[in-house]
Symmetry: C2
Subunit: 366 residues, 2 copies
């Protein structure tokens, strides 16, 4: 196993010291920033996430802030999702596409005020796209990366832990809504959201210096809840059908191929980039689409797209795979041609360690 070599370019987060003290075992790089990949072991972390509560350093979900008179117009320019009904206090999952309908990012937009949005991004420099568009369209809007570092609290005991630190009101937050809470005199935006299906919150920590005090407060309050440092679990997120930009989709894919057609109100999202291409796509539907794929055996680490073959031709690819202890199989995500995407279809998957058989499922596992 190769180590990851440190440099300033792989940015540390407000929580990196704490993450290292907690014994992080692996890292990936996400938005030029360190993202932990496991602590005890992927399997031990997985079981703990499903039973207790974890604190995740997801500062790598960098924010792109839009602020000014044209902020709302710019936000609608960026996505085919119709944002007219969006109110402050809401978070919207918004596909962002280029002029051909290719996915550039699949972020969560947070409407902070009528003239202010945060876009909580997946792994691409969406800032450069948004800045380029705003500049060339001469929009009256400031576009920047503010010093905000999301910290996630995930797992079935999340409500209990959060209530102890931020007050009982946090329990009343609805899914994908946020509200402002106090931490030692500072207003903090907290949303009920996160990259797992175990329930939880994302704390938008404002300012590097507040990172460690909030981390420490959560660990102090959660001792008897068995709180631990954690991170997104590959197996758990695949079970739940949570896609990963760069893994399960790239600029080659339309939202419809990714199963995100329901987030495209292309008819009414007037002014959005990619509208012409997506109206065309919406007419016929995609010819390939994301599917949940079950493999009986353990497979190697999915470090590249694995071709899915039929009669000597490639009809798809597997892009994420992990062993699921709870379902006692490998859970996988792939993009499959319509000729082979029906549930029950047996797929022939080629990996560097040989071929495996997979089966298309009706739905994700959890």
């Amino acid at each position: 196993m190769a180590i990851i070599s440190p440099s300033r370019r792989l940015r540390r987060t407000p929580f990196s010291d704490a993450v290292e003290a907690a014994g992080v075992g692996g890292y990936t790089v996400y938005n030029h920033m360190l993202l932990p990949t496991f602590f005890e072991s992927p399997e031990a972390d997985y079981h703990h996430l499903k039973r207790h509560v974890q604190v995740w350093d997801v500062a790598c979900e960098r924010q792109v802030e839009l602020r000014g008179p044209d902020a709302a117009r710019l936000m609608q320019t960026l996505t085919p999702r119709d944002l007219r009904g969006m109110l402050p206090g809401q978070c919207f999952y918004v596909p962002v596409v280029d002029e051909t309908g290719g996915m550039l990012n699949d972020p969560v937009a947070v409407k902070v005020a009528e003239d202010r949005f945060w876009i909580s991004i997946a792994d691409s420099d969406l800032l450069l796209w948004v800045k380029g568009i705003a500049l060339a369209y001469r929009m009256e809007v400031l576009v920047d990366e503010p010093d905000i570092s999301p910290l996630a609290v995930q797992g079935p005991k999340s409500d209990d832990l959060m209530a102890r630190v931020f007050g009982e009101d946090v329990r009343n937050l609805r899914f994908f809504r946020y509200s402002v809470f106090d931490f030692e005199g500072t207003d903090i935006i907290i949303a009920r959201s996160g990259y797992s299906k175990q329930g939880g919150f994302e704390i938008y920590v404002p300012g590097f210096d507040l990172g460690r005090p909030i981390w420490d407060a959560l660990f102090k309050a959660g001792e008897d809840l068995n709180v631990r440092a954690g991170c997104p679990s590959a197996a758990e997120r695949i079970e739940g059908g949570l896609l990963s930009y760069g893994n399960d989709m790239t600029r080659d894919n339309t939202p419809h191929e990714c199963g995100l057609g329901r987030f495209c109100n292309t008819e009414t999202a007037i002014g959005c980039i990619g509208r012409d291409a997506l109206l065309r796509v919406a007419k016929d539907g995609p010819i390939r689409q994301i599917r949940a794929i079950e493999i009986k055996e353990r497979v190697p680490a999915c470090d590249r797209a694995w071709p899915i073959m039929a009669k000597g031709k490639q009809i798809g690819q597997v892009t994420s795979a992990a062993w699921s202890p709870d379902f006692d199989c490998t859970v996988a995500i792939g993009m499959v041609l319509m000729t082979h995407w029906d549930p029950g279809t047996v797929l022939h998957i080629e990996t560097p360690e040989g071929p495996f058989e997979g089966t298309v499922r009706e739905a994700f596992w959890a």
Copy 2:
């Protein structure tokens, strides 16, 4: 030391299998792609680079291709360097800045034809910036990431090795010029360039499948030259004053702060983004600038910016540092305020493992 966790998102290159067979010890991530950081050890690799010849997987220098009637106009829009005299066959180092003059990337532009450029990028998704600008300005140009993977041959024996594989004519290439050479029937662009001061070439390998044959041909031809797999050496590139985007400069910095003012012909580069801001900067010059800094002792890995302090105030930061076996000191790069940037000034540098003293040098080491 944490391991790097594999996923499709951290893209493998045409050379990754060969790199792993050669015993890569560490990786970083660059443009969402794997970049080796050492093989035998950073010091052993450094000595070998300066004496023999190495083959580097720098496929992570992704290309942004501009193609079409507006390609040249778009290229000039992107950079304050005056490109009117640029001819096919030339490579230009071009600062790319935003509307405030902040560095977005410091790539090498390759003029492939009058209506076609490749931008060989440093570590940011410049593709998104260029696509956004081209789209919003309604330029007649295709912008894409072609399937081209640079492979560098670096070290004093580079000419000998390259001549054996691509013919004697390769010796006649001048610095930052390219020409087209044949490899088993395929035309390949080769430039005299690379991220070291030891001399060498960059081969723009067209197509994933050609990667391994070229790699293997170089190793077969170079056995008696002691050819080895290598990668950019932190110590060697700091000695030579080669900057690293994301380490030594970010969007916060102007080209002038980075010592790249000589690449800004802002008066005549009409139409370039950031012109107003850079004309202002050029009037007074920068108040802080990149400096070579010598430290007597070995220092920890520079995984974050280290503050440089004077009388309780921060007057700069160190952003890269590595032990130099040849100069028997730590060679470092920092951004220093004009009050402290004169050669010989002693700097107080704060690292996580305590303070160190550094001295501003007149110039880089090599």
